[in-house]
């Protein structure tokens, strides 16, 4: 008998299976560490100590997690409507331009809390604009959104390259980046948050956008499970034919979903651009858009799960950086391997263990 249709309790579906998949990913990562002649347990210990040991480490972990929450939400919103937005990377990159333009034009005149709302809107608008064309192509012309969003990642990359090298670059400087924003264009650091727990933030760039990310989690939850639009999105995700039979307009839902998804990705730029480096730098997204895919998958497309998964990846990023200091044979790119394995086991192979678990479950529960 097939095991695919046997229902399992929620704690197995949302707790046990993801944890086992995660364990497998770490097991194979451990094998890689072992293969290059280091102790996997020692590496894990250093990684955790680096990410969670001191206030500064925690600050960095939360800083990375902030970016991943935004991109994870971006991917999740699209998945609820059955759309695979693989272009969060490009949308975040263009969102950075939106945030930077606001910061560059306002930072001289107003304090940060006046700049911030405009920067949020600017980054979201630019991110949404980047998602608009693939959305329109999917909604009206039937082009596959996965392909078009990939293409747009590259188009945006070329565009930003041009803008940074030719337009926003500081005259006389070699580095392709904008000028440093003044105080009015920077988001404040969250020293007090770490301070509350008795730690010290130190050089960690944890900033106000962390709180914006948490607000967005709540808003996304509200949108998906508590609004009519969210209901329509989920219906479309489950069955496009049912949605159209119920009179929901396909093109409209696709457009709105992708604009929201692109906007969330765009807001990710607030964190590195206005929160950390205080300038627009080339390739500042650094793969966070793709990490968003993993975060969304791990978090089962639910904001609460996304926060947890983003923290996990934050730990990996910060811990991995510390690890490469302590164990020079393991480079920082070990994180990329772990990330890939997590996506593989938690995403593509998520059903691999299910038949075995169903059999065990049936024996134990005596059905």
């Amino acid at each position: 008998m097939s095991t695919a249709s046997v229902p399992l309790p929620a704690w197995i579906n949302y707790g046990l299976i993801p944890l086992l998949n995660l364990f497998l990913a770490f097991f194979f990562s451990g094998l890689v560490v072992w293969a290059i002649g280091e102790s996997p347990f020692e590496a894990l210990k250093l990684l955790l100590a680096g990410a969670l040991g001191r206030g500064e480490g925690i600050g960095f972990t939360l800083f990375y997690a902030t970016s991943f929450i935004f991109t994870g939400l971006s991917v999740a919103v699209a998945i609820h409507a059955g759309l695979f937005n693989i272009g969060s990377e490009g949308q975040a990159y263009l969102g950075g331009l939106g945030a930077a333009l606001v910061a560059l034009s306002l930072d001289r005149y107003v304090p940060w809390y006046v700049t911030m709302p405009f920067a949020i809107i600017g980054s979201a608008l630019f991110g949404a604009a980047c998602a608009a064309v693939p959305a329109w192509l999917q909604a009206k012309r039937g082009s596959h959104i996965v392909i078009t969003t990939i293409m747009f990642n590259f188009i945006v990359s070329s565009l930003m390259n041009y803008i940074l090298v030719r337009v926003l670059i500081v005259p006389g400087k070699m580095a392709p980046e904008s000028r440093t924003f003044l105080e009015g264009g920077q988001l404040p650091k969250l020293d007090w948050l770490i301070g509350m727990f008795g730690g010290r933030l130190g050089a960690a760039p944890l900033n106000f956008s962390f709180l914006i990310a948490l607000v967005m989690c709540f808003l996304v939850w509200l949108l998906i499970w508590r609004t009519k639009l969210g209901y329509e999105m989920r219906t479309l995700g489950h069955s496009p034919t049912a949605a159209s039979y119920a009179g929901m307009r396909y093109a409209r839902i696709v457009m709105i979903t992708m604009l929201i998804s692109g906007g969330l990705a765009g807001m990710m730029a607030l964190n590195p651009v206005m929160g950390a480096s205080a300038r627009l730098q080339i390739e500042f997204v650094g793969g966070a858009g793709f990490v968003g895919i993993a975060v969304s998958l791990m978090g089962r497309n639910h904001p609460a799960g996304i926060i947890l998964a983003a923290l996990l990846f934050g730990v990996l990023y910060q811990g991995g950086a510390e690890l490469s200091f302590d164990m020079p044979t393991i480079t920082r790119d070990m994180i990329v391997v772990i990330q890939g394995l997590v996506i593989l086991f938690a995403g593509a192979l998520e059903y691999m263990l299910r038949p075995a678990i169903v059999r065990v479950y049936q024996q134990i529960s005596g059905k």
Binding site: F84, S158, F290, I330, M334, V337, M352
Partner: protein
């Protein structure tokens, strides 16, 4: 230099740049025609470039490098198959995962083994595929027009280049003139019908993926030990995605795939040539426009403004036998 010489040199470099695209796009052709989306092309060429550079470095034999590259790329293909065929996982997620694994693993292993920040050691001359001068190339050189064309564009390439162009008619023949090809095309359109005919959908798709892995192995090998003499971090630099674009631009057909790859290779070569030069009447054209052009063209095509690009119908959908 007069215009003809410039044209010849751009054409020569266009061919060199389009070879990895051609192998990769043909790989994608087999996998997508069988109904398996292959975002992981990028990862496969990266992994095989690394593997063949390592093997060629240690053995000093280019063919050993090629074999290792192909084997590595086939392993990646099989993982993709295990996830997306056997476990019916999401094909795009699986492809993205493999790209990450390849990007990370090549640097981690490379740094651990060679200690040069991800670079492999310099591959000796015997471990590389070097240019072959075709018979009569020197004699023909002085013949106007066809002489330089023959001597500088057609002759002087390495063996992988000629294999790449040979793969085009072979792929066409396999896809359109063999039983396997017919079944591959059928399984990409209507796996249910193939299953009803008593043919295993899973095994057919696995075989298509193995062919894809085989071809990606050539692409990676070309990058690391034919075009250069070592593996460098992130050497594939998005070529897997451009090949994917070329495949779509060619509407999933072998001969148009070759033309699309040549076009994208030409754009790349032209962009390199135009760097810092001004076009008469227009002024300096930003090099980024040429870099973005393959992707823009593909989007325009997908929008249905240049004919209709119709992907294989069952692409991306895992096949479930009736229960």
């Amino acid at each position: 230099m007069d215009y003809f010489d410039i044209f010849i040199s751009i054409l020569g470099s266009a061919i060199r740049l389009s070879i990895p695209l051609l192998f990769t796009a043909l790989a994608g052709l087999f996998s997508e025609r069988a109904g398996i989306f292959d975002i992981g092309l990028e990862g496969k060429i990266l992994a095989s470039a690394f593997a063949s550079a390592c093997a060629a470095y240690w053995t000093g034999n280019a063919w050993a490098g090629l074999a290792t590259g192909i084997a590595t790329s086939i392993v990646f293909s099989l993982v993709h198959g295990f996830a997306s065929i056997t476990n019916r996982g999401n094909q795009i997620v699986s492809g993205v995962a493999l790209n990450f694994v390849a990007a990370g693993l090549t640097i981690v292993l490379g740094s651990a083994w060679f200690g040069q920040g991800g670079r492999t050691g310099q591959v000796p001359a015997s471990g590389r595929f070097s240019g072959i001068t075709l018979p009569g190339a020197e004699m023909m050189r002085d013949v106007p027009i066809i002489g330089p064309l023959y001597a500088n564009v057609i002759s002087g390439n390495n063996i992988l280049t000629y294999i790449a162009f040979l793969m085009v008619p072979i792929s066409w023949w396999i896809l359109y003139r063999t039983r396997f090809g017919l079944r591959v095309r059928a399984v990409g359109e209507n796996p249910g019908a193939v299953d009803t005919a008593g043919i295993s959908v899973a095994w057919l798709r696995y075989r298509a993926l193995i062919v894809a892995g085989f071809l990606c192995g050539f692409a990676g090998t070309y990058l690391s030990i034919a075009q250069s003499a070592a593996f460098i971090n992130n050497m594939s630099a998005g070529k897997g995605y451009i090949a994917l674009a070329a495949l779509i631009f060619a509407k999933w057909k072998p001969v148009p795939v070759m033309l699309a790859c040549l076009l994208f290779g030409f754009l790349d070569a032209f962009a390199n040539f135009m760097q810092g030069k001004a076009l008469p009447g227009i002024g300096e054209v930003p090099v980024q426009i040429f870099q973005a052009l393959p992707y823009i063209l593909t989007c325009v095509l997908l929008a249905g403004f240049i004919g209709v690009a119709r992907p294989p119908k069952a692409g991306g959908v895992p096949y479930t036998k009736e229960r």
